[in-house]
Amino acid sequence: MTDLLIKLIPLFPLLAVILNGFLGRRYSHETAHRLAWGSVGLSFLCTIAVFVEILRTGTSHEVIAYQWIFGGDLTVNLAYLVDPLTCIMLLVVTGVGLLIHIYSVGYMHGESGFTRFFTYMNLFMVSMLLLVMGNNYVVLFIGWEGVGLCSYLLIGYYYDKVSAAKAASKAFVVNRIGDAGFLLAIFLIFVNFKTLDYTKVFAQVGQLSPEMATAIAFCLLIGAVGKSAQLPLYTWLPNAMEGPTPVSALIHAATMVTAGVYMIVRNHAIFDLSPTVMTIVAVIGGLTALFAATIGLVQTDIKRVLAYSTVSQLGYMFLGCGIGAYTAAIFHLMTHAFFKALLFLTAGSVIHALSGEQDIRKMGGLSSKIPWTHRLFLIGTIAIAGIPPLAGFWSKDEILAHAFTHHHYLLYAVAAVGALLTSFYMFRLMYLTFYGASRMDHHTEEHVHESPMVMVGPLMVLGVLSILGGFLGFPPEHGWLHQFLAPVAGLGGEHDVSTGLVLMLMMIATGIALLGWALAHYFYSVNLSAPDRLAAKFQAGYKILLNKYYVDELYDLVWVEPIKQLGRLLDWFDRTVIDGLVHSVARLADLAAAGSTWAEKYLIYGGLNVIGYGNHLAARQWRQLQSGMVHHYAAVIVAGIFLLAVIIQLIMQL
């Protein structure tokens, strides 16, 4: 029964794909989108059923669909493994996916490629499900590449926009770099274990030499970095925002980009064997978190801000993995899925409301015009900023705490700063978008309207999840989630930590978050009106306010400006150096290709054609022998005889 359900989970969306893909043109958009979200809903139900089953029995299921690739010592089945980890992922994917599908019905309304959009979305669901459900690396790889393909298709959804097309190709190619690493990892695993099934591999992971473990883990890491947009392969993600907003929400925030984290957690057994790689993971995570956050400070495109924040949040998850807090990583993955999806979708609704405007400098004061969107966005912001008791707080704090209690103080610091920046730029976004005076042009201003129910509905659900989702992991380190994931990810911190410390860390985290908010409030809400108020007030207390201004300027001088500078610098670095690198690689390819074209034309071609040319030449020369004069002929004969005579004499030594 359960096995059947498990088999059904990816089957429903596949069915939808086939129907919409081939017959989509035949029937109306309504039918198409009903099929689409209906199928996802069905697999969501199946997931629930399976989940309950697992909760009841606590056993993990392995289901073999059919034998896929085999021969010699290699056997790869198309098979599923459903254990707690998969369950969580399944719930996230199908759940959030369902909501986003429903949302899209409203958002994509009236688009020309409506059916195409849903076909791709369902195709994505299929691949993502394969990714999380596969019981061996090859199936994982199918999903891995499949989601890449779908992200390609969906980023390039507006394919007649050059930027979209380019972004799509870039995403796919950069992903491929990661995939190459992943492939190598798979090969290494096969060479070492003679199998590719998780269970068998992890069973005999013991006899792996540290070096080999490092190699495998490192190759896996390359794959993860590519997929999850970590340093240095994160460049594609911001560009990916060219796609429709629901796509950004589903693929580039909630599910696909977290595949790397899932993969690391799935293989933690291998990673645990290699401290080196663990450190690398942690460092990459930390740096990315900080790095992306700093960039986020200066972005003006609403979706790009969110994109960078996604990168930075993923950094947190990597950090979690790197320091061995796998549960925390998954926990954050889940909560992040909730609130980031919420943020993106609300942003989408904002854009929808402003009929396509994405620049926050042209927004402001929307809170009154689109209240629901505003509220939900606020929830999301608070959640991501890590203010208790919303979801983001618990997961992020757990990672931070884990870092601290396990004495990764430097990483802790980095993460903390990241957290501060996160809350700062999120609230900055909040203020610029919803509060203050409107900076819109009138035309758009008139058309501002709240989104339809079909969009707001899912947003509300997500809002609720963003608020309550955190309690799945409450109390920290010992929450329900930890118990549930224990068989897969192992319990994070075995050694007990004094409750006081935990509380203190929570305090700090909260403080950081609020500090960020305060700063944002100060710069983008209060200080705007300060000068003229000061001018109007009486001279008394002037100094203090002035001092206040000192502080202000001091802050400005000491913090904001440098950070802004740093942000710009990094932004520049991002745009110039890293893209530049990609470009220069392209240049190099051009050069090499040009070179080889030359070689093609002149060396190889000429070399092989020398026969032909040589013949023509020889033909033209040698035919002169046939002079047409008889006595020449006679001479030729005589000469020939002499020649042969000489030969013979040489042989016979006469």
């Binding site: 035919r623 046939q626 047409g628 020449h632 020939g640 016979m652």
Partner: protein
């Protein structure tokens, strides 16, 4: 010194084919003189009838295994001789067939044309059985004599005259060389008959003598460096004569070469193998490469003929039975392909009066049949499977590899590629280029017959060569005794590198 000559009727039987042809020769002459108004077709068919009869007689001999030797082995009639005679007579028949329409170009003496053809045939038949130096000289000149006249037969055509005179000068020049060579060999051995010669060690006189003889025979088969008459003569001569020249004398001369090298010179194999290798390499390379630059189809075929002889000589260079089998087989395939090609050349020049390759443009449209047959023949010459030519080349190469003549093989194979190049040039003209006028060509009956015969031969041998291979294998049995080189002579060092 007393007179002893003992001949029984059974001995005379061995001469039956030659006697038939000789008598037919006289009949032709008599009829031609007595009925001047007789249309030459009938004379042609008359002479064909005689030759067919001869062919039948030869076939009967071969079937019944009637063989023997006369005049102290000066005249041998073994199965090899029979094979070669059949080749010669067969080609003569085909030639007369293709000539029937060509004849009208001769203003006078149309009857004598057939006479001369048949006479040359007779000479070459004797050549095929010649087993001594004297017969060699006489029959060689005998067979040339006919050609001296035939080549210059278009008396008003300067090209024909020039070809005739060139061939004549070089011919008698070669004859002189031959005579001198014979004299030297006779001086060294005191014998004329190949099988009687007992040569202990190689002396300069012997070497030079046989070298001169080889030169004369090489002249006949047109192997480099004795090839120089070939292109001009082929170009100038009446096309049927060219066709005849391109196959029959080569066959006859090769028969003598086989006897000379495998019987008389068996002991000196390591030396002459080297000689043949050199000549063969030269012929193949020169022929193929110069052929590329040709504009006239007859010259092209001339050069390709030189190259083909180079291939045949590979078989001789092996000096084994298998090599000889391969030679015979190859000659048969060459006969069909080459005569077929020439038949088409005649047909085309009858229709459009030109032999330039450019004028073959669009032949594929104007006469699909001719173009297709030409394609088949050229591909067979180039050795493309499954046509006869391929099997022939394969046979020869295997024989050569067995002897380890890798250098020769490599040259030969590269030459196959080169030859493909110029054969394809002709094919391109026929099928790709646009014809100047699209009017379809009309082909006369006899030529059609010849083309059909050659086509059938080329395809049949290619697809089912079994009977032919059996035939040649049995034909060469004479040499099974000398198949392996006698180890008496120490192999000189110069041979080893060539041996690969």
């Amino acid at each position: 010194m007393t007179f002893e000559l003992t001949m029984s009727p059974s001995d005379l039987l061995l001469f039956l084919p030659e006697i038939l042809v000789t008598s037919w020769l006289c009949f032709i002459l008599i009829i031609d003189f007595s009925f001047p108004r007789l249309p030459n077709e009938q004379l042609a068919y008359f002479s064909i009838a005689g030759l067919v009869g001869t062919l039948g007689c030869l076939a009967w001999f071969d079937f019944a295994g009637i063989t023997g030797a006369l005049f102290g082995n000066m005249f041998v009639l073994d199965r090899m001789a029979l094979f070669f005679k059949m080749l010669i007579v067969g080609s003569a028949i085909l030639i007369i067939l293709v000539s029937i329409d060509y004849i009208h170009r001769f203003k006078v003496f149309r009857g004598e044309y057939y006479f001369l053809i048949v006479m040359a045939t007779l000479g070459m038949m004797f050549m095929a059985s010649a087993n001594d130096l004297l017969s060699l000289f006489i029959t060689l000149e005998f067979s040339s004599l006919g050609f001296y006249v035939l080549i210059a037969y278009l008396r008003e055509d300067m090209a024909s005259n020039e070809a005739g005179i060139k061939f004549f000068i070089l011919g008698i020049f070669a004859a002189a060389l031959l005579a001198y060579g014979i004299s030297l060999v006779f001086g060294e051995t005191g014998k004329l008959v190949f099988s009687d010669m007992k040569m202990a060690q190689a002396t300069p006189g012997l070497a030079i003598g046989f070298l001169l003889i080889f030169a004369a025979l090489g002249f006949k088969i047109g192997a480099v460096p004795f090839h120089s008459w070939i292109p001009d003569t082929y170009h100038g001569a009446p096309t049927p004569v060219t066709a005849f020249l391109s196959i029959a004398p080569k066959v006859a001369a090769l028969a003598i070469l086989l006897r000379m090298f495998l019987v008389a010179l068996a002991t000196f194999k390591p030396i002459w193998v080297l000689l043949i290798v050199a000549v063969s390499v030269l012929s193949m390379t020169y022929g193929n490469i110069v052929a590329i630059a040709q504009k006239n189809i007859k010259r092209l075929l001339a050069y390709s003929g030189i190259a083909q002889i180079g291939n045949v000589l590979i078989g001789l260079a092996t000096g084994t039975k298998m090599g000889s089998d391969a030679m015979l087989f190859y000659l048969l395939t060459y006969l069909f392909a080459n005569l077929g090609a020439f038949a088409i050349v005649i047909a085309v020049s009858e229709a459009i009066g030109s032999e330039e390759i450019d004028d073959y443009s669009g032949l594929g449209r104007r006469s699909p049949f001719l173009a297709f047959s030409m394609l088949i023949f050229l591909l067979s010459l180039a050795g493309v499977p499954p046509l006869a030519g391929f099997i022939g080349k394969l046979y020869i190469f295997i024989a050569a590899i067995k002897e380890g003549l890798y250098v020769l093989i490599t040259v030969g194979l590269i030459n196959i590629v080169i030859s493909m190049y110029y054969y394809l040039i002709v094919v391109k003209k026929m099928y790709v280029n646009e014809p100047r006028d699209r009017s379809p060509l009309k082909i006369s009956g006899p030529i059609k017959v010849v083309v059909y015969i050659c086509l059938a031969g080329t395809l049949a041998i290619g697809i089912y060569p079994q009977p032919v291979t059996d035939w040649v294998v049995s034909a060469i049995l004479v040499f099974s005794n000398v198949a392996d080189p006698t180890a008496s002579l120490p192999i000189p060092p110069a041979v080893i590198p060539l041996g690969g």
